[in-house]
Symmetry: C3
Subunit: 351 residues, 3 copies
């Protein structure tokens, strides 16, 4: 079939570039057939990002000499199933992301938009970036906080504004090669005018430190974001142990949003089998919100790698609700304290 | 004049790439002076896509070995005259594209957003893609369904949601080299929760098969999209005959939207002259909607190729309305059963 | 820290490209800590574009032979601090840019979206582009109309729609190598239907001519944009003198919006010091609007170049208001006729 494509001019400039100055175009397109079953309704979708976040990005580094470098990173989410981008947040508050209009969300660099200066002393990073408090939740989850198997430890009581990323951030990251010790601190601004009681809303700070030593990798993160309605704390410790058959992971989280406390844990593992990986996890989260909701998830999956860049995968998960929780999987809806299950079958290609 | 441009880092990574893994940046910028005359008002605009759809895209293929490959394709419409992108549709229903806000439409990959796995057996393609029912209308139109000369056979009774593209689609395309025989099937999802009478809205399927043999190329497409208010069928057969002086094309369409029937036809041709092409078509569409509207269009144009990538062009067209139709060209407005004419003069550059 | 990044396919096509056909990916990421002080409130932000506009762009040129070339240019603003794009304007009228929704502005090519044909006779350029009336204001401002030090001569009485850029434009630019003489004309369309009194709203034209001779560079621009509520005129003359210690610049502007007149002036300079530049300017603007508002700004800054592409910088500025003006810097607010000051400290990286 001829999808007569327009002639393309190749990127000739590339061939004359100096080796130390590179710009890289990169991305992922991951489409997933998602089936969800709940006691109230079922749903079947073609979704996105079942294994890896669909994205488009541009990044590059310039060698400044003397061990110094400057770099930038622009990366935005894609909805592979319909071609939309995703919203960002401008002020780390709920008001920083307005209402969506179906089909009209253009590409933003919501995943990361940073400029950095780095040297032997570490890296200074400005812009929108992951928060330190998010890293343990995603790195030590066999499902990388994606798809139907994503960990329940992403606290349901935490406002979305800075749970995973923060805008207007100033970050410092330790250099690599500190004998396995790593860490970062980040401060982010809410950008309100002085005066009202909400003047500090959206302002916060976080620290994450960890140690990778032999087969062990353990890290702890603490964070606080200010809101006049009650500060949000998102704290966690997590780690993994790599051994002969694969690696096992664990997480413990302690959150607070105003007067509500939440806590969660995860136990999981990734086990190579042939050219693929078996993934499994059990995670739980409960809070002191009205009804003391509690949700537990069992997730099992298999990723078959066709190459380093391309994989097919399937994940199955089931949640059990308690304390009036109504968490349901893959867009289905379920009744109070009822369970829900879901299945992802997908194709992931990265470039 | 010095538009002092920022130093640019070249794409050095390119030079070290393995030959079988490529990412291509491609696009078209096509700007058109558009003049429209109608009995009620005239309009003069600088528009976009008079000859070829202005677009920006990224695509690539990875050789997986053993005759297999994985690929992705991200492509979005551009408005060359003002720099806007275009909306996509999230659920193949009218609700899947919300109201536009002037000047604010960012780039989406509304034209195509897919990930594919291909082999000797054909191609499996997931995401947002052209619908099979659209191909005959555009390939066998001398004006490629673009600009003032675009065919009238794009049925006026057909909802826009899946007339040209569908989100949440799963497609299978036959491999090339089947002795000229080609074909594809596609199923797409509306992604509604089960329960209400509209649970299947936006769900559909389509098939297209064709044969290219010597100077002849003929194809047929049938499709059905479900809506509780009445299913939509968009069916067509079309083809072309290439001979000494150029090629002639024809289309016959039969549509149905709920209780309303529509039918159309086109006869046209493309005739090389020097380094250019003369394009001509006559197309008509009528439906059983209130008033039994009928519109006929005569279109004439010339494309002068300055290179394979760059062309200047002019197209003139005139529509005649009947049955209370008020179709007008290039943004003009015209009275009931009145006619309208329009002229495009443009410059198209592809990369 | 392992931000495990997806494998990236390099842009191999580049290496086989013909030398005369290039597509360039380019951009800037400039993040700035912005502090503003006013008599009513203060503000601290991480902002964008304190030294150079954060942006992402794609551009290319095709050699058509015989001294002719075709080219395209797609460039959009970025908000480095949160990853948003910026809106464009569709019709050169206030209605051409609708209300913003926080966090949802996708990338548009609002800075420039053009296709061009060029030869020894000059360049024909179609699309969205800078207006001729904007160039003198930015080129002859030591702060390039960016950041806290940006010139006050950007008239406060001028509608934003065509103050810096126009959509739907047809431009002609003189060729280079005319002995230092340069110039351009531009016409732009409002794209309204004929009939109402506002039918010509947003339609305009502008001319800019200049002469660069030895150490001197002087240019004049005149423009008119039509609106039924009163035409807008934005006229200016500006220039610079480069001598041993640096260069000094001056601007004089004369604006008119309906029945309101505005006038401004700037005197400034850029003085190289080691691997950096000291920048300074004093600018003023007053109008006959209600209260006859008047604002004067003193701005001082230093840019330290770490390389041609990367710089750190600091700018301090202070405004004095008169005639009931309330202009305040960096998001602070200030009382009637009160002053305001602001500080930018930032990092700019271009690629």
């Amino acid at each position: 079939m001829k999808k007569s494509l327009i002639a393309m001019a190749a990127l000739a400039a590339a061939c004359t570039a100096s080796a130390q100055s590179t710009v890289t175009l990169f991305g992922v397109v991951d489409a997933t057939l998602k089936v969800g079953h709940g006691s109230a309704s079922n749903k079947t979708q073609l979704g996105s990002s079942g294994l890896t976040s669909s994205r488009l990005g541009f990044r590059g580094t310039e060698d400044l000499g003397g061990g110094m470098s400057a770099s930038f990173w622009l990366e935005g989410d894609l909805n592979a199933d319909n071609g939309e981008g995703a919203a960002t947040n401008t002020n780390n508050q709920a008001s920083g992301t307005g209402a969506a209009v179906a089909g009209r969300q253009g590409l933003t660099f919501n995943r990361r938009s940073t400029v950095s200066l780095a040297g032997g002393w570490g890296e200074l990073r400005l812009g929108r970036d992951y928060t330190p408090q998010f890293w343990n939740l995603t790195i030590f989850d066999p499902f990388f906080t994606l798809g139907v198997g994503s960990t329940q430890t992403i606290g349901s009581i935490i406002t979305g504004a800075t749970a995973a990323r923060a805008s207007n951030s100033i970050g410092y990251l330790l250099p690599p090669n500190l004998g396995g010790f790593y860490g970062q601190v980040q401060a982010y601004l809410g950008e309100n005018n002085t005066g009202p009681v909400t003047q500090d809303d959206g302002k916060g700070a976080a620290v994450r430190v960890g140690l990778e030593s032999g087969p062990f990798n353990v890290a702890v993160a603490v964070s606080r974001t200010e809101y006049a309605t009650g500060n949000v704390r998102q704290n966690n410790v997590a780690g993994q142990w790599t051994f002969g058959f694969g690696k096992v992971m664990g997480q413990i989280t302690r959150d607070r949003a105003g007067a509500v406390d939440g806590k969660g844990w995860l136990l999981g593992g990734v086990f190579p089998v042939g050219s693929g990986d078996i993934r499994a996890s059990y995670s739980a989260y409960e809070s002191t919100a009205v009804g003391t909701p509690e949700t537990k998830k069992l997730a099992l999956g298999y990723v078959h790698n066709l190459s380093k860049r391309t994989a097919v995968y399937a994940t199955w998960a089931r949640v059990k609700n308690g304390g009036s929780a109504v968490v349901a999987l893959n867009g289905s809806t379920t009744g109070v304290n009822a369970s829900s299950s879901g299945l992802d079958i997908g194709l992931r290609h990265s470039f």
